[in-house]
């Protein structure tokens, strides 16, 4: 799914909510991953200059979950360690989005460097 405008952030939330419901995630788990998606989608649109979200149902052995991947070709993050510090902002709250999404997910992966864009993957298991 393309993430370019604010409307896309809403569409992303709705898509994740639907997928989480279909996967029969508990209500709190649903809310957590939808909120994480909202944060990351916003990051992608506002800081990453637009990008994509991929959504897939994953299985590992006999457990199932929802995996979201947000990728953009934006400026990238120079200091990953600093970015993941609570409360770090690059002007308008990029840091909180990342740490927030990490707290709300079971798995979190961040891949970014200046000039290389950013790629964030989060997973919520059932």
């Amino acid at each position: 799914m393309e993430l370019r405008t604010e409307q896309d952030i809403v569409r992303a939330r709705q898509a994740v909510r639907l997928a989480a419901q279909e996967l029969r995630l508990g209500l709190v788990d649903q809310t957590k991953i939808v909120t994480a998606a909202s944060e990351l989608a916003r990051n992608t649109v506002i800081h990453g200059g637009g990008g994509m979200m991929e959504l897939e149902v994953v299985t590992e052995g006999l457990k199932t979950g929802l995996r979201l991947c947000f990728a953009d070709e934006g400026p990238g993050i120079a200091d990953l360690g600093l970015a993941m510090t609570d409360g770090w902002t690059s002007g308008t709250g990029l840091g909180l989005g990342l740490t927030g999404a990490k707290r709300l997910s079971n798995e979190f992966e961040l891949d970014s460097a200046p000039g290389r864009g950013t790629r964030v993957t989060v997973t919520r298991w059932k």
Binding site: E6, V10, L27, T31, T35, R42, G100, L104
Partner: protein
């Protein structure tokens, strides 16, 4: 998709009910609309009903905190009502505890809180004037 969130006037208070999916621009418009409305009507309180929100992220949390802060400067108290349990748990997990924002369980209690706050304000003012 809504263009603007409706603001209802209830006596000296303003009632705002936030429905479903709110996009960022809508949140910003709401802040503007509310502040101008408070000023124009001299409202003493704002009741922000979020019982229909099934998700509150950092942007919306900030909006709520902003509304509360700006309203207070303009002389109005804000009470947020109807936060869903799943939303509360998620916010706590995010570490966003909205300090300084008043909360109530439902609209009824929220209104009571606003009236009490208003009465207290009035009392204080009366004392000042004596």
């Amino acid at each position: 998709m809504m263009d603007r969130i409706p603001i209802l006037q209830v006596g000296e208070f303003l009632l705002v009910t936030i429905q479903g999916d709110m996009h960022d621009q809508l949140a910003l418009s709401l802040q503007d609309d509310l502040t101008s409305r408070i000023e124009k009507l001299g409202s003493r309180g704002v009741l922000l009903d979020i019982s229909a929100l099934d998700m509150v992220d950092s942007f919306i949390a900030r909006m709520i905190a902003n509304i509360s802060g700006m309203a207070r400067i303009l002389g109005a108290e804000t009470v947020v009502v109807g936060m869903q349990p799943a939303v509360a748990i998620t916010l706590v997990e995010l570490g966003l505890t909205l300090p300084g924002v008043k909360m109530a369980l439902n609209a009824e209690r929220g209104m009571a809180m606003l009236r009490t706050a208003q009465a207290q304000e009035d009392d204080l003012q009366n004392v000042d004037q004596e």
